[in-house]
């Protein structure tokens, strides 16, 4: 049973990646789970400098989901390289770093620092965070912005470049195409859906930033559809995410066209979910006599089904 998958030049031992923003810097989980057993760990988004993020409350639960506006609190790329990366390397983690920026130059500079550091496997470009005022989603909601960020980072790194796309656009596949044209090695999607929750008694928003991003099982069918659309449009690998809570959900994304998957919100509910996901996917391959999980990717069968007894 071969669970390995290829993302550009990067080989992952399995397709299961801890999603950025939902797994701290990875080291928080190092005593609880074997980080080297994951396909990769996508660490929390990093700017050039430290950021405090938004005041609490930062999350609110919704039916089968949650809305968050953390505001990309973070220690900055230099402290990450000094304080977190060595332990991640020591633990055998495959590290994908989520790169943030308020300007094009900041994306480039953060990417440059990470490319010079020891132990970074790939760069995920955060052009889709809905919760910060400048940068981020401003690039991700414009085709030229997406193209510009990806091509600028492409020029300064040999690491695989993976822009993370926002679903808050009309045609996400056109953004995948812009990223591909700019030299991206893969795209990851979806980031969260812009959302809000109101306390009707106080008539106040339930999170301090007023609006935030919806994640969790509630968004899964929309995310699957968007992964499918991107797979149809681009040749580069698609990394799928959005509400995956068990192995079946992960397999659904892969059949839709995801070469790998990320899991975020479900890790909050069950921090020991990883081995269950990986074992569940392996059991599925066994049951369907598929030797390599890469062979499952994009195998959706859309032929018209002929209704039984229709006489056709």
């Amino acid at each position: 049973m071969d669970l390995s998958v290829q993302i550009g030049s990067l080989t992952l031992r399995n397709p299961v990646i801890a999603a950025s923003g939902c797994f701290g810097y990875g080291v928080e989980y190092a005593d609880l789970i074997d980080l080297s057993s994951l396909g990769a760990v996508a660490v929390k988004g990093l700017f050039l400098t430290e950021r405090e993020g938004h005041p609490p409350p930062r999350i609110v639960e919704t039916p089968a989901g949650m809305v968050n506006a953390i505001g990309l609190q973070g220690i900055g790329v230099r402290r990450f390289v000094d304080e977190k990366l060595p332990e991640l390397a020591m633990r055998g983690a495959t590290v994908i770093v989520n790169v943030c920026g308020t300007t094009l130059d900041e994306y480039v500079e953060v990417s440059r620092i990470l490319s010079d550091a020891e132990g970074v496997a790939a760069l995920e470009l955060n052009i889709s965070c809905p919760n910060i005022k400048e940068g981020g989603i401003q690039f991700g909601c414009s085709l030229t912005g997406t193209y510009d960020v990806v091509s600028a980072v492409r020029r300064v790194t040999r690491l695989p470049v993976i822009p993370k796309l926002t679903p808050n656009v009309t045609d996400v596949a056109s953004f995948a195409a812009a990223a591909e044209e700019a030299g991206a090695d893969a795209v990851s999607l979806v980031n969260t859906f812009l959302a809000m929750v109101i306390d009707i008694e106080t008539r106040r928003p339930k999170i301090s930033n007023v609006v935030g991003g919806l994640s969790g099982p509630a968004i899964r069918p929309i995310a699957v559809r968007m992964v499918y659309e991107c797979r149809e449009r681009v040749k580069i690998p698609v990394i799928g995410m959005g509400g995956i809570a068990d192995a079946r959900d992960a397999l659904e994304f892969m059949i839709a066209g995801a070469s790998a998957v990320q899991v975020g919100t479900a890790n909050f509910v069950d921090p020991l979910i990883w081995s269950k996901l990986i074992e569940g996917m392996a059991a599925y391959l066994q049951r369907h006599a598929i030797p390599r999980i890469a062979d499952l990717v994009g195998t959706l069968d859309t032929r018209q089904q002929i209704a039984e007894g229709s006489g056709v």
């Binding site: 609880l32 890790n267 509910v269």
Partner: protein, 271 residues
């Protein structure tokens, strides 16, 4: 190291129409928990509510031979998750991740210990009182509630040799008003040379008032804060508290990792 236990409900004891004590079978957590630490709980495998909820450990439960068998929580029904925990039946299962977080720092004699509790903030003090008793520390519980019917387990604390000071907002038991009033009096009457450590857990306003009072009398104080928490492990960054940084200024600190017990004088309180 925390473990995730699929714990069976051993007993569910209602205290009022909103409060209950839920006993859960989870020996690995019970064996390793320190006073002030917490667990993340979830009933059922459903998606609504989706996330776990943090709870202080109320009591470590033991069998007749003294072996730890599980723990109890003090629950107040305020939303969907707490309603499910209020209605949980014996034999039902609850996912318990823990123990998590930084515990209280118990003092040694000659220091005295003053525990300040408001409402369900009573929860971590039963085990802290036991730890302090084992160290021979003279302990007082300042316990405030809305009404006499919401003052729980006074007998338990009495049996642990804890001196009780009680207030209720409606005056149905003890002094009428807020618990910080008798606390202030006690601080004022205390000779400056007699060491006292204050531990507080309860509503944010009570914590802020306790922290302010302790600072005014130059007394050390630890508070157990409660924030909306997504994961309990440092992954989500939702439970942050503004705290004084080592390099000046204030920074958002994750209360699940640095707390829930935090030094009161390092927190930036809303005035």
């Amino acid at each position: 190291m925390p473990s995730d236990v699929d714990a069976e409900v051993m007993a569910n004891t209602p205290l009022t129409t909103d409060y209950n004590v839920l006993a859960l079978s989870a020996s690995s957590i019970a064996r390793s928990v320190a006073p002030g630490q917490f667990v993340m709980l979830k009933t059922g495998g459903n998606y609504d509510p989706l996330l776990r909820r943090p709870f202080s450990i109320f009591e470590v439960l033991r069998d007749r031979s003294g072996q730890e068998t599980g723990f109890s929580i003090l629950n107040k029904r305020i939303g969907a998750s707490t309603r499910l925990l209020y209605e949980a039946r014996r034999g039902q299962h609850v996912a318990c991740l823990g123990p998590l977080g930084r515990p209280f720092t118990p003092v040694d004699p000659p220091s005295e210990a003053w525990m300040v509790a408001g409402g369900v903030g009573l929860a971590p003090f039963a085990e802290l009182a036991r730890a302090l008793r084992a160290r021979g520390v003279s302990t007082t519980l300042f316990y405030g509630a809305r009404s006499a019917s919401e003052l729980f387990h006074l007998d338990l604390f009495g049996s642990l040799g804890v001196t009780l000071v009680v207030t209720t907002e409606d005056g149905t038991a003890g002094e009428r008003g807020r618990i910080v009033t008798p606390l202030e009096r006690a601080f004022a009457e205390r000779p400056a040379g007699d060491p006292v450590m204050t531990y507080a857990c309860g509503p944010e306003g009570m914590l802020a008032a306790t922290a302010k009072t302790a600072r005014r009398f130059a007394r050390p104080c630890e508070v157990s804060v409660e924030r909306i928490m997504g994961c309990g492990l440092g992954g989500c960054y939702s439970c942050v508290v503004l705290m004084r940084g080592s390099r000046g200024g204030f920074h958002h600190v994750r209360s699940c990792l640095a707390g829930p017990v935090l030094p009161a004088d390092q927190i930036l309180w809303d005035e």
